[in-house]
Symmetry: C2
Subunit: 358 residues, 2 copies
Amino acid sequence: MAIITVVGAGVMGSALTFPAADNGNDVRLVGTHLDGEIIESCQNQRFHPRLRRPIHDSVKPYFHTEIAAAMQDAEVIVLGVNSRGVHWAAEAIGPHLQPGQIVMMVTKGLESSDEGQLQILPDVLRSRLPESIRDQVHYAAIGGPSIAGELAARRHTSVVFVSRNGDILPKLRSYFMTDYYHIWTSTDLIGVELCVAMKNPYALAVGLAAGVLEKQGEDIASAMMHNYAAAIFAQGLAETAILVQKMGGGLETVFSLPGAGDLYVTTQGGRNSRMGRLLGMGMAYSDAVEEMPGETIEGVDATIAIMPAIEAMMERGDLPADGLPLLRALYRVLTRNAPVDFDFNSFFSKLPFTPPTR
Amino acid sequence: MAIITVVGAGVMGSALTFPAADNGNDVRLVGTHLDGEIIESCQNQRFHPRLRRPIHDSVKPYFHTEIAAAMQDAEVIVLGVNSRGVHWAAEAIGPHLQPGQIVMMVTKGLESSDEGQLQILPDVLRSRLPESIRDQVHYAAIGGPSIAGELAARRHTSVVFVSRNGDILPKLRSYFMTDYYHIWTSTDLIGVELCVAMKNPYALAVGLAAGVLEKQGEDIASAMMHNYAAAIFAQGLAETAILVQKMGGGLETVFSLPGAGDLYVTTQGGRNSRMGRLLGMGMAYSDAVEEMPGETIEGVDATIAIMPAIEAMMERGDLPADGLPLLRALYRVLTRNAPVDFDFNSFFSKLPFTPPTR
């Protein structure tokens, strides 16, 4: 098959080594400068401490200092760093990239450019690679509901591989697909990247409901707060649809695996949900972060990273000013310690529904 | 305000009496012939045994034998029966309907006509009312994530009121909207009714994942089965979108409250999920129903009720034959005791994604 080099030994990059290695590829797992202990454990015990399971027999672990050798002759470089690691990754892989290689990003996120444009991470990465190579490699990404630990456990996982260059997709898929890893392909890079990035803020928002319920205390008939959560879920998806349409992506991406599927899976637990619960309980954001020391909460990072571009787009008239009320409310909660007190009636204003009179 | 008569004292109809009565309407709750004990309790103890809370101070409970008096001069008749009760309800309310009344259905479901057409319940109801009145009343329905117990607990609940006749919607909404009951309006009756009916089969299908997980047993790293569930969630929404588009409904209905929101809330528990879990554990359907005696499982009823029309539509070429693989797989599980063993690769074939090679 192929040589596949995964850069970043966090859970998601490492999980991808399972279908890749099961498929007979030559798989190399390279830690970042922060992954030293993981790689040490992978080399010495053949055990991944964060996935909490043995690594695949055939996977070769590398320290970040060995990245040049690890990338040598690889058909695919998988970028498994988190959104804060993209700039580092560009510097780390840039000097070793070879023409024709495919760089596939697992990282979810968006950035605001200095000009107030929303940028998807494959474009951010490209702009930070050496000019001599940036147009000599292919860019791809993965979207869809994929909890790393489940993929590593070889549980059925369904995703979309996406690239603007449709020609590379059949080959890329052939390297990774197994009887448990189901891969569709799409050229809607902007749609997929928006969906997978926005699911983090919106999953955090759905998670607020659990905290609001705890704060309110017991109901005589044990009523929960699922209606509250579901309205936020729906509004999150509707806001994603607005953004995707405005940026030229496809609606089908929103109501399938990358949008609805990934948002659903992300509401089922994890750090975004835990942060949401703390905020829903009435904790100020500045206190809530103290409860989760050292953890990257992608929903927080994404909200803060994209808001400058969102505001600029609204000022330019590229986005309706009242089109993303949930994201804006969340931004106030995360940056101004605002209390969680949504105006539900502000939701769904851009759909062909008549909203509640206020 | 208005006189509002709720027919059917199950949880959903009864829950609607809370916003209606909080809003100052004259609210009458009429039990069906099966609701005798509930109405007795409401009359004598002012307590609703299935909602497990006192009824609203101002609500007037009626036995089914008193339906004529209860419907007298009502502006709105809310039909709160379940999908099996629609034919009964048509006979029960038919003789007492007065011109100009609004009949608003809470019931979720679809039927296959003898001609192999998919019929939404407001149309089924209309066709079974006396000819002299059926075109003298207005039809409306409610869609969106609304667990009855939460609405009765006055928790934030966001729904869509829908009617082909947009003129009645502002008034109808004004009767029900409160600071916890948020109401959008729409004229996409077909889209809303398809979404709210199809969420039951698809929520049942999402629930399978929990059972499959139990059957597989513990994983060394406690991996769950959320990726499996999320792929089914996404495919359920995508199949709903196919149906809605083919029947002339709007996609926006699918990715907002009636579609994504209601499917989400329905996966969070309830009878469909419990049945899904039993089937996912490997129990044959004929055994699983024995575990839930006397319970109406809307996801089962809906799947069986609509399949004749779906098959006929596919034969006529009105629907792509491979467009609803999840629904068809579920049908085999429910009617032929087929095991739960989805071909994930058959999913998403009607989206602009290239599916996995089989």
